[in-house]
């Protein structure tokens, strides 16, 4: 089974801090994604990556950046955390070759910015 591991389940940070959310997948998937999930808004795509060192903006990239130095690892960076970035963050991966392949999600990181 594909395993997508997010380094923290819960994180509390202060406004203005630089925050790193880490995600690792063990199935050699080309594609990796970061979503945030908020009540009433559903899943919204922040950034995704098709390959090492490649990144593409999703629907809501403002205030975020990403890093993909190795194929298995995709990091989400909040340069200066703000309270409106309090949310559940979900990492996902999928193989690049199959058009309708499913997304495999991690269990999420619930971030609170105070």
């Amino acid at each position: 089974d594909v395993k997508v591991t997010q380094s923290s389940r819960y994180l509390v940070k202060r406004t203005g801090e630089k925050v790193f959310l880490e995600c690792v997948q063990d199935m050699d998937h080309e594609n990796m994604f970061w979503y945030r999930q908020d009540p009433g808004l559903g899943l919204r795509l922040i950034y995704f990556s098709y390959d090492v060192k490649m990144k593409e903006k999703g629907d809501i990239p403002e205030g975020y950046s990403v890093s993909r130095e190795k194929k298995e690892r995709f990091s989400l960076i909040l340069e200066s955390a703000s309270t409106n970035q309090t949310s559940m963050y979900l990492c996902a991966s999928s193989p690049g070759v199959f058009y309708n392949s499913p997304l495999h999600f991690g269990n999420g990181t619930r971030l609170t910015v105070t």
Binding site: Y99, L103, F105
Partner: protein, 113 residues
């Protein structure tokens, strides 16, 4: 931006009842996926439908893709407490790559024993 509207947003029913959840759009999708998310976990894929009119069954769950590929439904027969969760539909636009997946806002389903 292609939108997927899910209804109902919330549904609480008794064990043994039947229910249907809807996923609608004004846009055509090349495929549609259904995920279930349980508390404290990430979404997990239930099914992918790709052909207009396609029906897929997964035990007590029946998924249908509309003939025009703009809508889908999930029907659960004799619901069980283990069916409780957040059900998400996600559509892939024609020609869209891995990034072309649009999620609905989800249906929160509670099955009471």
């Amino acid at each position: 931006t292609q939108l997927l509207e899910q209804s109902p947003q919330f549904l609480s029913i008794q064990e043994g009842e039947n229910l249907t959840v809807y996923c609608n759009s004004s846009s055509v999708f090349s495929s549609l996926q259904w995920y279930r998310q349980e508390p404290g976990e990430g979404p997990v894929l239930l099914v992918t439908v790709v052909t207009g009119g396609e029906v897929k069954k997964l035990k007590r769950l029946t998924f249908q893709f509309g003939d025009a590929r703009k809508d889908s439904s999930l029907h659960i027969t004799a619901a069980q407490p283990g069916d409780t969760g957040l059900y998400l539909c996600a559509g892939r636009a024609s020609g869209g790559g891995a990034d072309g997946l649009t999620f609905g806002k989800g249906t929160h389903l509670i099955i009471q024993p």
